[in-house]
């Protein structure tokens, strides 16, 4: 039995997505910028994808730009807005638990002379709002906070964060990395008070190398990729038509029953948490309530190294992630797990299970059985 429980790493592409992509590569393979009919057909796929996404988010089509994925989306919005607004100030605020595509982009901006404040989180991974309030300054130009944490699944109170920022100074831009949230939660950037938002295609059954950003109309931002002026010169380069058509199709399918699928995942997740916490020495870092996304379960297993558990489950055909990759010669402890104050002995013993709407109860039962069996075996040989 193959049980893929690493859907926060990437997901299987939907048949409908594959089909439309093949079509754009073999039939309607034109360049959207070409003036002839073949080019126009290709352009139609881009327009259609933009329509689907804009209506899913309840925003305007001209506020959507396609990118090569989550990392580029984060780079483009954060660097682009920081550079465009640096005359107003050079202070940026972010959280302590961001994905590397944000945290390393922040480090880059620090090298460019920006000052970055990182807000801490509580034991559930939710950022400290008082700390945020106090961190805001006259020269603050940008706040970037992830919607759903990729390791433990905590959901940030985006709407409240926006209110705090905008009450302080309406012109501070608010960016949200929604890569783990999109397709799981109902997200309407306007209602939430978000200026910029990053999304990746392959986390929602779309293709790798696809993504988009929402950038609110009239937001002051500069492009970071320059060239032939495609996408209003915000993101030059011939449009990745297969990727764009693919992500458009994925969004259409995911949004056709978003709430239903989320509820289903939430039920599965809570079932899994109930069952797995029955095992001895197992604790779960993801909660069952609305503060956590419906698809991510961070599990700490006392006395068993995450990498060993991962490979042991692999032998059973179960595929998961290690909370933090740790090896004897290169310890890389997770910043998120440290930030939520996980005890030291569990930092290297934490794994992540992540579900999709296709995950079944049988698969979860199989995984729990395998965990039982493997933990019994592995615990005999804990480090002396």
């Amino acid at each position: 039995m193959k049980v893929y429980l690493d859907n926060s790493a990437t997901t299987k592409v939907l048949d409908s997505v594959r089909d439309i992509m093949v079509k754009t590569m073999q039939e309607d393979y034109g360049n959207p910028s070409s003036m002839h009919l073949v080019g126009m057909y290709a352009e139609n796929y881009v327009k259609e994808a933009k329509n689907i996404i804009a209506s899913a988010l309840k925003v305007d089509t001209k506020e959507i730009y396609f990118t090569s994925g989550g990392t580029e989306s984060n780079n483009m919005t954060i660097i682009g807005s920081a550079m465009a607004n640096k005359r107003a100030g050079m202070h940026i605020i972010t959280s302590a638990i961001e994905h590397p595509s944000v945290s390393n982009t922040m480090k880059y901006l620090e090298e460019q002379g920006f000052e970055v404040t990182r807000i801490g989180v509580d034991s559930e991974g939710i950022i400290n709002l008082d700390e945020l309030q106090n961190a805001l300054r006259e020269d603050t130009i940008l706040v970037s906070v992830m919607y759903v944490n990729n390791e433990i699944g905590s959901v940030q109170p985006i709407s409240e964060i926006s209110k705090i920022i905008k009450n302080y100074n309406h012109s501070i831009l608010f960016h949200v990395d929604a890569i783990q949230a999109f397709g799981k939660l109902e997200i309407y950037p306007r209602r939430l008070g978000v200026d910029m938002m990053s999304v990746s295609g392959h986390k929602i059954h779309g293709p790798k190398g696809s993504g988009f950003v929402y950038i609110k109309d009239k937001t002051k931002i500069k492009p970071i990729i320059h060239g032939g002026g495609q996408q209003n010169a915000m993101r030059s380069g011939t449009e990745n038509v297969p990727g764009i058509a693919g992500i458009g199709q994925a969004v259409a399918d995911v949004y056709s029953n978003l709430r239903e699928n989320s509820d289903k995942m939430m039920k599965m997740k809570n079932y899994f948490i109930d069952e797995i916490t029955k095992l001895e020495g197992v604790s779960v870092n993801s909660g069952k309530d609305e503060k956590f996304a419906p698809h991510i379960i961070s599990v700490s297993v006392d006395g068993v190294r995450s990498e060993v558990l991962l490979h042991a489950l692999e032998e059973k055909g179960i595929y998961i992630s290690a909370g933090s990759a740790c090896s004897s010669n290169k310890p890389a402890v997770s910043e998120t797990l440290k930030a939520i104050g996980l005890p030291k002995n569990l930092l290297d013993s934490t794994v992540r299970f992540s579900l999709s709407s296709f995950t079944t109860k049988e698969e979860l039962d199989y995984a729990i059985e395998a965990m039982k069996e493997m933990l019994a075996k592995l615990r005999i040989y804990i480090r002396k």
């Binding site: 990498e307 060993v308 558990l309 991962l310 490979h311 042991a312 489950l313 692999e314 032998e315 090896s327 004897s328 010669n329 290169k330 005999i380 040989y381 480090r383 002396k384």
Partner: protein
């Protein structure tokens, strides 16, 4: 400029002195050169004449690729790119040589000496005359250049054969002996820096390689195994194809962990690795084992530990890096291009259960006593490990 060379003279030092067996070494070298050139874009013939080997390009070819390939052939001490011309008289030859010198050495503030060899004895000038007349022609053409008969910066060689060969550059080869002239040995290959270097060094003496790797799933990952396969492939670029035996060591390792004192784990583990590697070595006619051990590098490589692991072997164990400092080994690893792969951070099975303070001076009596605690199941486990070996040909 490089496309003016249509041939190479292959120099070999050591095999030139092998007496009556010399042809065996030369034939092996020719065959290894042929093998190495198979992957190069272009057609070549390799000829053996008295005391020298020529590689002749029979078509357009990629010069850099050809040199890279030749530089990996053990037994080659130097590669001389040859300018080959028809004999159309000495005047023409002078012109060609002057043109060659001009192209090769834009800076004329240097010294040279002409070394000529007249293999075709009916050539109208003696080698002494060629040296003098050619030297004079070059001096006339380039007033800045000087002759130095003792320490010339440029040694200009002119060989008069059917055609005339002109060369002055020697690209160093790896040296050593051609693969296939010495026999076969079994390399204990881990994912580290040392063992690929050890394999390379022994292969350089003409030894064909086979290898054994021990993995311990789930304590080591598929990626760690893939890394070892990749390392074997890198070494195989020099040594030729390597048969890699992949042994599942988990059960043996856990059994030892269970039954024996923790601080002796690594030593006892290594003794069983040697036993298993020797089994495969004997099975396929290897004449020795090769390890990347170096005195004192880690607890299991002290003189006492080496003696303890060596005790279980009945065939010679070759340890080519035994007296090397780590940095010396790293230097070779960089040179042969295995370093980058070796330092990828995956677990290897030696590191997982390692004791905080392993024994550094194991006592053989004590170790043997500990191993007796394994009597109940170890033979069965060894048999299972040997029978379930996975074999990959790395090439």
């Amino acid at each position: 400029m490089n496309n003016m060379f249509k041939a190479f003279l292959i120099k070999y030092a050591e095999i030139g002195v092998k007496g009556k067996n010399r042809y065996i070494f030369e034939d092996a070298l020719v065959s290894q050169i042929n093998n190495a050139l198979k992957g190069v874009d272009g057609k070549f013939t390799v000829q053996k004449t008295t005391g020298r080997i020529y590689v002749q390009a029979e078509s357009e070819y990629d010069y850099d690729e050809a040199i890279t390939a030749l530089k990996r052939v053990f037994g080659v001490s130097g590669i001389c790119p040859l300018l080959q011309v028809e004999d159309t008289g000495f005047e023409d030859l002078c012109k060609t040589v002057i043109e060659y010198m001009d192209k090769m050495y834009p800076d004329k503030n240097t010294t040279f000496k002409v070394f000529s060899r007249r293999a075709r004895k009916n050539y109208p000038r003696s080698s002494q005359e060629i040296n003098m007349d050619m030297g004079e022609a070059i001096l006339n053409a380039f007033p800045e250049i000087r002759v130095d008969v003792h320490n010339p910066k440029i040694s200009l060689n002119i060989e008069v054969r059917e055609k005339i060969n002109i060369y002055s550059e020697i690209i160093p080869g790896p040296g050593g002996m051609p693969i296939g002239t010495a026999g076969k040995a079994m390399l204990l290959l881990s994912g580290g820096i040392d063992s690929p270097v050890a394999g390379y060094m022994i292969a350089k003496r003409g030894v064909q390689l086979e290898a054994t790797y021990f993995h311990a799933p789930p304590y080591t990952s598929e990626r760690a195994k893939q890394k070892v396969v990749d390392l074997a492939k890198l070494v195989a670029k020099y040594s030729g194809p390597i048969k890699l035996n992949i042994v599942n060591f988990t059960d043996i390792q856990l059994y030892i962990y269970d039954k024996c004192p923790h601080d002796e784990l690594t030593i006892i583990m290594r003794r069983y690795m040697m036993r298993i590697a020797e089994h495969f070595a004997k099975e396929s006619g290897c004449l020795g084992l090769i390890t990347g051990e170096s005195i004192g590098q880690v607890a299991s490589q002290t003189m006492q530990s080496l003696a303890a692991t060596n005790e279980v072997c009945t065939i010679p164990v070759y340890r080519p890096v035994i007296a090397f400092d780590k940095q010396d080994i790293v230097d070779i690893a960089c040179k042969i291009d295995t370093y980058e792969t070796s330092i990828l951070p995956f677990e290897d099975c030696c590191t997982i259960f390692v004791a905080k303070h392993p024994v550094t001076k194991p006592n053989l009596k004590v170790i043997n006593a500990s191993e007796r605690k394994l009597e109940e199941k170890i033979d069965e486990l060894l048999k299972k490990a040997i029978e379930s070996v996975e074999i990959i040909i790395a090439e």
